[in-house]
């Protein structure tokens, strides 16, 4: 019998709930507290919890290391991409009003996308730094 069975079962139960909460914080940031930064950290916490009880290799079958590495840059790319899209559509850099037919919709879309960019970068960064430490451990 595994001595850490309670720890493992609890962590397995908690990890999906943490991820779900991270998505809620990510996409509900317009209305309540939270946003991309907090959501990214929470998402990484779910991964770290899973990695702590099941091992880094098991966690990396969920999010392989090259994926989280690419996420770090992808988020900044999305953020800057939204800015340049605004420019291409006739506005200033990071002007969301022109992104949709209606300025309010444009603002919503722009804020949603740049927050998503922040979330993806932060999640990737936290997962990568934790993994680098965990892999280093003797």
């Amino acid at each position: 019998m595994d001595a850490q069975v309670i720890l493992r079962v609890t962590a397995r139960l908690l990890a999906p709930a943490i991820w779900l909460f991270a998505l809620y914080v990510q996409f509900h940031g317009d209305f309540g507290p939270g946003g991309g930064f907090q959501a990214g950290v929470l998402f990484a916490v779910g991964f770290i919890l899973y990695a702590l009880v099941e091992g880094l290799a098991a966690a990396e079958t969920l999010i392989p290391a090259p994926v989280s590495e690419a996420m770090m840059a992808l988020g900044v790319l999305i953020y800057a991409g939204v800015g340049f899209t605004g420019m291409a559509m006739g506005g200033n850099f990071l002007d969301y009003n022109v992104l949709a037919h209606d300025p309010h919709h444009g603002q919503h879309l722009g804020i949603l996308l740049v927050e998503l960019g922040v979330g993806i970068t932060v999640a990737g960064v936290m997962i990568q730094i934790f993994s680098a430490f965990a892999r280093e451990s003797p």
Partner: protein, 179 residues
């Protein structure tokens, strides 16, 4: 009542800081530092800064604790007793602290509506934010829309910092494999 809770949480903060000072065991110190962050998050909630409290709880109490524990795991758990006398650092800290406290004397009272920070662009954001951006949470509207440049810069800083840390950690591993 709120002031009473605030005072209680603040005194817990002070006690935690004093306890960390007296510790030689790194793991316990890191745990108490996590507790310190959680208490700070409580202070931020009491001051109605829920977004800041959320970040403090997630980053300070969560991720930092894990990363510090990982660092301790790689280095040594116990700190050595300092060989030099702590008198000079103590004087430096006292003088710096006194200067900072002296600096706060000139600051406007907490929540004073006449304070310069509440007279600049803040009122415009609060009044026009929901109408201009259509987003009810003013913090999100300011961060992502009004101050979109700054947030883009911050995200880039996070990426750059991570590249630096990862370069250090990976460089170490490759050096170890070579030797």
């Amino acid at each position: 009542m709120e002031t009473l809770i605030l005072l209680a949480v603040l005194s817990f903060l002070g006690l935690t800081a004093l306890a960390i000072l007296r510790l030689r065991d790194g793991v316990t110190a890191v745990m108490l530092a996590g507790l310190y962050s959680l208490l700070s998050a409580g202070v931020f909630v009491l001051m109605d800064a829920v977004d800041v409290a959320f970040t403090e709880a997630a980053v300070g109490a969560g991720i930092s604790t894990v990363l510090l524990l990982a660092t301790l795991h790689r280095t040594s758990r116990m700190t050595h007793r300092p060989t030099h006398t702590p008198l000079i650092p103590l004087i430096v800290v006292m003088v710096t602290g006194a200067a900072l406290v002296y600096g706060t004397l000139d600051m406007p009272a907490y929540g004073d509506p006449q304070a310069p920070i509440h007279q600049h662009v803040g009122p415009d954001y609060l009044r026009d934010g929901p109408n201009t951006t259509g987003v009810p949470n003013v913090v999100t509207a300011v961060l992502a829309s009004y101050r979109g440049y700054d947030t883009l810069g911050e995200t880039t800083v996070v990426l750059t910092a991570a590249i630096g840390v990862l370069a250090l950690l990976r460089g170490r591993r490759q050096g170890k494999e070579r030797s």
